[in-house]
């Protein structure tokens, strides 16, 4: 007797196996990411917030001043993975805090793992879009993301590691510390301290009293007429000061093991291969004090 049953059984077994495998294998394209996103919107009104604190990781942060008294926050958390279920599951591990404490408001994103849960494998990202009164003080910390600050005129505290930071029309006073990444500032006016480590800094139209402590990295400064004092402490950084009317400031330059290029007009107190001291003194109100170790200094 012909044994057709075993053959059909074999075919059926293969077919059944295929069905089981296909239905149990996560079906996703390796070229497409499934992006799971959750958003929160908040409007923070009375009583007015004195300082907004943002403690973020892997976030894109935009803080733009407006003329309304309240603060508007849109916080978007996203998780990207080729598998939708994984993206959603990792998104649930991505949490935030948005709460007031007295006159301060705190925003923070973080990863929360319940007992036994694995670390997320998706690409997690937070995005903060915030509009706030210009006079609201701001304290921002972020890593591996971008930061935009625009139109603020009060106390500013910034700590940015591996971030691309942009400051536009910033007044008042502040302390900005960066590690790696880039910082571009335009129209900065007031009393500001920059502490940069391996950061590329570019500051245009800066005025007021500026202090800078740069370790490695490139620093380009374009001062404006309103600059009262600029103090730069540099270790192995490449410093370039570009000003059409550089003669509007008095200068005191001290360099150890630094390559210096200064315009004509500077007088030298010391000019050896390793140690240089130069000054430019016209009894101006505005002065520039630069101390460098290694690295380069160019004024033009």
């Amino acid at each position: 007797m012909k044994k057709i049953i075993p053959y059909e059984l074999e075919v059926f077994t293969v077919f059944l196996t295929w069905i089981i495998v296909v239905t149990n294998t996560p079906v996703y394209s390796q070229n497409m990411l499934q992006v799971a996103t959750k958003s929160v919107e908040k409007s923070i009104g009375n009583p007015a917030v004195r300082t907004l604190h943002i403690s973020a990781e892997k976030a894109d942060i935009e803080l733009v001043a407006w003329d309304k008294p309240e603060i508007s926050v849109v916080l978007e958390l996203s998780s990207k993975h080729p598998d939708k279920a994984t993206a959603v599951s990792d998104l649930n591990k991505f949490q935030y805090i948005a709460e007031r404490s007295g006159k301060d408001y705190f925003l923070r994103n973080y990863i929360l793992l319940k007992e036994g849960e694995n670390k997320p494998v998706s690409n997690l990202k937070a995005r903060y879009v915030i509009h706030l009164p210009a006079a609201c003080a701001v304290d921002v910390k972020n890593t591996f993301g971008t930061i935009l600050l625009k139109g603020l005129n009060n106390n500013l505290s910034l700590k940015a590691d591996f971030c691309t930071t942009t400051l536009v029309d910033i007044q008042g006073k502040g302390m900005l510390a960066t590690r790696f990444g880039d910082l571009k500032g335009k129209e900065i006016s007031g009393s500001f301290s920059f502490a940069s480590d391996h950061t590329n800094l570019r500051l245009e139209q800066i005025s007021g009293a500026i202090k800078m402590d740069a370790v490695y990295g490139n620093v380009e400064i374009y001062p404006s007429i309103g600059l009262n004092s600029l103090t730069i402490q540099s270790k192995k950084a490449v410093i370039t000061l570009l000003a059409k009317n550089w003669q509007l400031f008095d200068y005191n330059i001290n360099g150890a093991y630094t390559t210096m290029k200064l315009p004509n007009g500077f007088k030298w107190k010391k000019n050896t291969a390793d140690f240089k001291e130069a000054f430019f003194d016209r009894k101006q109100i505005a002065n520039v004090q630069i101390n460098t170790e290694f690295g380069d200094l160019t004024i033009k």
Partner: protein
Amino acid sequence: MTSESELIADCLLHDRTAQRLLYDRYKKSMYTLAYRITADFDDANDVLQDSFLEVFRHLDQFRGEATLGAWIKKIVIRKSTKKKRLVIWENIEDHSQESINWGESEINAAHLETAILSLPDGFRTIFVLAEVEGYTHKEIAVMMKISEGTSKSQLFHAKRKLRSMLTSG
């Protein structure tokens, strides 16, 4: 100079001059401590105000087990860490075999100050308490409600990060 016990006695009588004297005696060190932990002048202002109000409200509870300054300092530390909503996760690692070299030359104090203020909140707090204020890990563990091992681990990480920020010349 008024003795500590005389000062306390007058403060308990709500003598405003005595209270001002006590405040002036400790304001700099406590403000500096608050600023180092919070890394923010506004927060330090709030902490100092709250701390001294608590000092004057509860001065009758000061039993003299430690100096008045030490008692006030504990209040300032508690208020400062609360202000920063500081949470230190238990994380005990063994760093006994590791070493940190602080370089071949003097460390610039201004650079050190900037570097300390740039540390993450948890690292900075433990570093300030241990290296600036001189608390033992046992004392820090009680204050911060963590284990001694975590305090040691946090201090190691703080120092390692500080060292990397203070590259020697």
